[in-house]
Amino acid sequence: MRDRLAIITATLAGAFMALQYFVTLPVANSAYRAILSWMQIIAAFAIVVGVFGVIRLHLERIGRKRAGWLYSVTLLAGVLVMSILGFAGGIDRGTSFQWIFDHWQAPMQSTVFSLLAFYIASAAYRGFRARSGESVILVLAAIIVMLGRVPLGEWLSPIVPNVSDWILNVPALAAKRAILIGIGLGMVATSLKVIAGLERTYLGGR
């Protein structure tokens, strides 16, 4: 009964949102925008659920003194500090909330992502050693595009940036377009299955 209600909701919402694209009635348009904003609010509540899920998991780890429980304390302290500062002190410029974002959160995130500069170099090294026709094409394209985007490439030869542009605008674009078309068709097919009630994995379980 409950699941049937869910499937009917998905079908009605999906059919309306898709058909509304072809309708110019103002009523349909404002209903479309209302449902979009509802979806945003529901997604926000889902984030809250996710946050509480993580908090519960780490409270459990602390409670049972599992390995690394002290790290869970660190994590929860981070959540607590940000929440208290954000709700009590505000989130505007000059607040402690913003200070932590600027001085701890943003730099740490950027450091984590920059770690990949090291790992990608070691992956590229292994890529160089795996010699097949395709990997040679991949590595050559990568090298030319990289050189074309930095001053060194132009210093080597003015042809390098032009070749790099050509690679991006012709063969890479062709493959990208085909992949986009494939993804687009796949998403349309999946969406139709959701609306028809054939795709039910979002209900969980099966």
Partner: protein, 199 residues
């Protein structure tokens, strides 16, 4: 920025870079702190900039339609109660179904029809013909209901070569963006913190 401020940032940065030498407690501490701060940040921003202004405030003004998303949002919160968790599926169905509905015309237009139009209209030049061949060859590669043999197989193989060029270009951009991040962090460590860089 004062020295104390930059030092806390620098120590956290170094703790994360310590992972290059292998997993260690400093890295684990920084990692968990980062996840905690990010969760707290997301929670505050979500409540303050979505739920509060879009759901709570309209309700206090007595706007009846605003009760619907609030109710659906509360259904999602039931996920936290195992016995009633199933009710959250109704809200989820609205998001998934509505998203599917929005996706059909949008995806069809932006990802399929517009791409096909641009490819077809581009054949006024040599590059346009190469793009057309590349698109068709790559598409044949993705047809798995037919064996990749004979002419079809050749086309699929050409498609793979085009894709390798694309992956190479994407790889190049990833490398450059990650190196840009590394340079950003080094500029902070050596410039803002240690002050050994000429500006």
């Amino acid at each position: 920025m004062s020295l104390l401020e930059t030092t806390t940032t620098a120590l956290l940065t170094l703790a994360i870079y310590s992972f290059l030498a292998g997993d260690n407690p400093f890295y684990k501490f920084a990692e968990h702190l980062l996840v905690g701060l990010t969760i707290g940040y997301t929670l505050v921003i979500t409540l303050k900039s979505v739920i509060w202004p879009q759901a709570i405030i309209p309700m206090t003004r007595g706007e009846m339609p605003s009760l619907v998303p609030l109710l659906l949002g509360c259904l999602i919160l039931l996920r936290l109660v195992p016995r009633w968790a199933g009710w959250s599926r109704i809200s989820l169905a609205l998001v998934v179904g509505g998203g599917a509905g929005v996706a059909i015309p949008a995806m069809l237009k932006a990802r399929v029809l517009d791409q096909m139009a641009a490819t077809a209209n581009g054949v006024t030049s040599w590059a346009g013909w190469i793009i057309l061949i590349g698109v068709l060859a790559t598409l044949t590669y993705f047809v798995f209901t037919r064996a990749h043999r004979g002419a079809w197989g050749t086309s699929a193989r050409i498609g793979r070569y085009f894709m390798m060029v694309f992956f190479g270009a994407t790889f190049a951009y990833t490398v450059m963006s990650r190196v840009a991040l590394l340079i950003g962090r080094l500029e902070f460590l050596m410039g803002d913190w240690l002050g050994i860089l000429r500006s």
